[in-house]
C-alpha cells in the first residue's frame, strides 16, 4: 500500500472530493499504518484479554461510509483479519474505487481467495449483508438513522454488532487558551475534509471574555481558506462528496437563517462547476436550534458562548450524540475536570481531529458502540468467553 500511496491518494481525491493534501498526508498513511499495527496483533491475541478464552467470530459483514473511503476500509478489515475472521466489505456507492484498488493489493499479497471480499452497491446491498444468515458479525460506520435500522434488523439474531455513527461534537475554548492555536484547532475541527467527519467539532463554545477576539480571528483565518480543486495541493477545502450531500448542507444553511442565526461566509472564490460549499459560521445560535442539535456533515460551525465551567459541561453534554469533544485551556487541572465530565468517547485537549491506529475511537450514547483502533478495537472481532 505504501508503495502505491500516491496512486491511492489521487484516486481517493478524484472520487471523494477531499483535498489531495489530506489524502496524501492523512488518509493513506493512516490506512497503511492501521494494517501494520493490527498485523502485529495476530499472534498476540492471548495477551489482549486477560483470563478469557478467545475465538474468531467467522464472517464479518462490514459497511463503510464515503467520507474516509480507504481509511474506513482499513479500520474494518485490519482488525477483522488479525482476529482470524473473513470479511465481506461494502464501500459506499459514491466512493468504491480505493476499496477495489485495495482488493488488487490484497490479491497480490497472497491472502487466500475468499478471505477478503468486496461488494459494491447501494443500501440494498448493505441490507443483504446485514440480513444474511451466514454472517456472524456486522460492523457499520455511517449515520445514526441507518445504524438504528441495522440494529433493529439484527434483533433476535446471534450476530455481534458494532456501530460507529454520527456526532455533534463540542469544541470548547476557555479564556486562558492559546488563542492562535485554538483558532487553528477550530478550523481543523470543522473544516477538515469539508466537515464530512463524524467527530467534527461542529459546536463551538467560547468563553464570553474572549468570544469577540476568537470570532474576529476565526473570520480572518477563514478569509485565507482556499476552496477549490481537490487535486490542487494549495486547496484547503475540497469538493462536497455528492450533489445530494450539498443539498443537505444547503438545507441546513436555510434552516439556520430561518431560525434567526447570523450566518458568516468568507468572500472566497468558489468554483462554478462542481459541488462546493464555502466555510460557514453561525452566530446567535440557541442550544435548541436545529443547526446546533443535528449533524450537518458539512463545513458549518455553530458558535455559542458560555461563562462557567459548569454551564459549558451541561451545554456540551446536552446532545443525543457523544462521539468526541475538544477542550482548549492552559490549565491542566481544568483539562482533566472537563475531559472526565464530557460524555464522549474521544476527547482532544488542546488539539483536535487526531487519529492513530493505537488509539481507540468510538462513541457514547447515540454515536454508537464498540471501539475501533488499539487493543480495545480487537474485542469487536473476537468471541470472548
Amino acid at each position: 500500500m505504501q508503495e502505491r500511496a500516491r496512486e491511492f491518494a489521487v484516486i481517493e481525491s478524484l472520487e471523494s472530493g477531499k483535498t489531495i493534501r489530506e489524502s496524501r498526508d492523512v488518509d493513506i498513511p493512516l490506512a497503511c499504518n492501521h494494517f501494520f499495527y493490527y498485523a502485529g496483533w495476530a499472534d498476540k491475541l492471548d495477551y489482549a484479554f486477560p483470563n478469557r478464552k478467545i475465538e474468531s467470530l467467522g464472517v464479518a459483514g462490514q459497511i463503510i461510509p464515503w467520507n474516509f473511503p480507504l481509511l474506513m476500509a482499513a479500520w474494518k478489515i485490519a482488525p477483522a483479519l488479525a482476529a482470524g475472521n473473513t470479511v465481506v466489505l461494502k464501500p459506499a456507492e459514491t466512493t468504491s474505487l480505493t476499496a477495489l484498488k485495495l482488493a488488487e493489493i490484497i490479491e497480490e499479497s497472497g491472502l487466500p481467495p475468499g478471505v477478503v471480499n468486496i461488494v459494491t452497491g447501494f443500501g440494498e446491498t448493505g441490507a443483504a449483508i446485514v440480513n444474511h444468515p451466514d454472517i456472524n458479525k456486522i460492523a457499520f460506520t455511517g449515520s445514526t438513522a441507518v445504524g438504528k435500522i441495522i440494529q433493529k434488523a439484527l434483533v433476535g439474531t446471534s450476530k455481534k454488532v458494532t456501530l460507529e455513527l454520527g456526532g455533534k461534537s463540542a469544541n470548547i475554548i476557555f479564556e486562558d487558551a492559546p488563542i492562535d492555536q485554538a483558532v487553528e484547532g477550530i478550523v481543523n475541527g470543522i473544516f477538515f475534509n469539508q466537515g464530512h467527519v463524524c467527530c467534527a467539532g461542529s459546536r463551538l463554545y467560547v468563553q464570553e471574555g474572549i468570544a469577540e477576539k476568537v470570532i474576529k480571528k476565526l473570520k480572518q483565518r477563514m478569509e485565507s481558506l482556499y476552496v477549490g480543486d481537490p487535486l490542487d495541493k494549495n486547496t484547503d477545502i475540497g469538493a462536497i462528496n455528492s450533489k445530494e450531500q450539498l443539498q443537505t448542507i444547503e438545507k441546513y444553511l436555510k434552516i439556520g437563517l430561518d431560525e434567526g442565526a447570523e450566518m458568516y461566509q468568507p468572500k472566497c472564490a468558489i468554483p462554478k462547476k462542481g459541488f462546493y460549499c464555502a466555510p460557514t459560521l453561525f452566530l446567535n445560535v440557541a442550544q435548541s436550534s436545529i443547526i446546533a442539535q443535528e449533524e450537518i456533515f458539512g463545513p458549518v460551525l455553530t458558535i455559542q458562548t458560555f461563562r462557567t465551567v459548569d454551564e459549558v459541561i451541561q451545554k456540551a453534554n446536552n446532545s443525543p450524540f457523544g462521539l468526541a469533544a475538544g477542550v482548549w485551556t492552559d490549565k491542566g487541572s481544568r483539562i482533566f475536570n472537563l475531559t472526565s465530565k464530557l460524555r464522549a468517547g474521544v476527547i482532544w485537549a488542546n488539539c483536535y481531529n487526531k487519529f492513530d491506529p493505537t488509539s481507540p475511537f468510538g462513541g457514547y450514547k447515540e454515536s454508537g458502540f464498540g471501539r475501533e483502533g488499539g487493543l480495545h478495537g480487537l474485542s469487536a472481532y473476537l468471541k470472548l468467553s
Binding site: 440494529q151 433476535g156 468517547g345 474521544v346 485537549a349 492513530d356 493505537t358
Partner: protein
C-alpha cells in the same frame, strides 16, 4: 393472651426511601404449598419513571466517588447482609429453598459482594491503556460508567441473581433501576433494607417489585436509561426489549448464566457496563532529548 404476629409490609425502594407503589396495586405470590407469601407492590409505569429520575440524580455523585470509597461501601453491603444472614435464609426457605440451598445462596451472595467490592479500585487499571501514538501526544484510554442501568433481575432466584447483576453495575459507578423476581420477591425487598443501611447513597440502587414484563418495556423504551441487562430471559420478551432499546441505542446484555455457580463472577460483567474514553494531549517537544542524566 396470644400475641398476633406483626407481618412485614414489603415496599419498593426508590431514591433511598420505601414508598408503596403510587398505583396502589399489589399482588400476592404463593409459596410451593399455595400459601400466600406476602402482599407485594405491583409497581407501575410511574414508579419506573420515578426510579429512573432518582437513579439519574444519583449517578453523577456516585460515579465521582473515589473508587476506594465505592469499594468500602460495597464491602459494607456484604457486612450488613452477613448480619442478616438468618433472615435471608428464612425468606429463601419460605420461597421454596431447602435449608442447605438457602444457606449456600446467602453465603455465595455475601462472597460475591466482597468479590466486586475488591474490583472497584482495580478494574480500570486492568482494562485501561496508554496508547503509543506516533505523534507527539500523550494518549490514554480508560473506562467510565455508562450511567443509569436498567436491571431485569434473574426470575428463578430471589437473591443471588439480583446480587450478581446489581453489583458489577454499581461497582463501576453506574446507578441502577432493578426489577425484582416476580414470583420470588421477598429477598429483593429485604436486600433494599440492607442497601439502605450500608452507606449506599440514595438512588444508586432502586428496586421495584411487580411484573417484569410490564415494567421492562418501560425501562427499555426510556430515553434516559443508558443500558439494560437481563438474565435468562425468554427470547420473545428479550427481543422486544432489544427492539425498544434501539431508540436511544441502549447497550443491552442478556446473560445466559446460572448465577448459583461459584465462578459466575468476573471482570467483564463490570466492563460490559463501561464506556471507553480516549483522551489526547500534546506533549511539548523542547530540549531534554540530548541531555544526559
Amino acid at each position: 393472651m396470644s400475641r398476633i404476629e406483626v407481618l412485614k409490609t414489603y415496599k419498593i425502594f426508590i431514591g433511598g426511601q420505601f414508598p408503596r407503589t403510587e398505583s396502589g396495586r399489589y399482588y400476592t405470590p404463593l409459596d410451593s404449598k399455595g400459601k400466600a407469601l406476602a402482599n407485594i407492590c405491583l409497581s407501575s409505569r410511574k414508579d419506573v419513571r420515578n426510579a429512573v429520575v432518582a437513579a439519574r440524580k444519583a449517578f453523577g455523585p456516585w460515579s465521582e466517588r473515589s473508587a476506594f470509597n465505592r469499594g468500602q461501601i460495597l464491602y459494607r453491603i456484604a457486612e450488613m447482609l452477613e448480619g442478616r444472614q438468618a433472615q435471608f435464609v428464612d425468606e429463601l426457605m419460605r420461597q421454596g429453598s431447602s435449608k442447605v440451598a438457602a444457606t449456600n445462596e446467602v453465603n455465595l451472595s455475601i462472597d460475591r459482594i466482597v468479590y466486586y467490592a475488591g474490583w472497584c479500585d482495580k478494574y480500570n487499571q486492568v482494562v485501561s491503556s496508554v496508547n503509543p501514538v506516533s505523534s507527539s501526544h500523550f494518549n490514554f484510554s480508560s473506562l467510565e460508567p455508562m450511567g443509569v442501568v436498567g436491571v431485569v433481575a434473574e426470575q428463578s432466584t430471589s437473591l443471588i441473581g439480583l446480587v450478581s447483576l446489581i453489583l458489577p453495575a454499581i461497582c463501576g459507578g453506574n446507578s441502577t433501576v432493578v426489577l425484582a423476581s416476580e414470583k420470588l420477591p421477598l429477598c429483593a425487598v429485604t436486600f433494599s433494607e440492607v442497601v439502605h443501611s450500608s452507606d449506599v447513597p440514595a438512588g444508586v440502587i432502586n428496586i421495584l417489585t411487580g411484573s417484569p414484563e410490564e415494567m421492562a418495556v418501560i425501562l427499555a423504551s426510556h430515553m434516559d436509561v443508558n443500558a439494560l441487562i437481563t438474565s435468562n430471559l425468554e427470547s420473545q420478551l428479550s427481543n422486544k426489549l432489544s427492539l425498544l432499546s434501539v431508540d436511544n441505542l441502549k447497550r443491552k446484555f442478556d446473560y445466559e448464566v446460572n448465577w448459583v455457580e461459584k465462578d459466575k463472577q468476573a471482570l467483564h460483567y463490570i466492563s460490559d457496563l463501561q464506556e471507553i474514553k480516549t483522551t489526547w494531549h500534546p506533549i511539548e517537544n523542547v530540549g531534554g532529548a540530548s541531555s544526559s542524566y
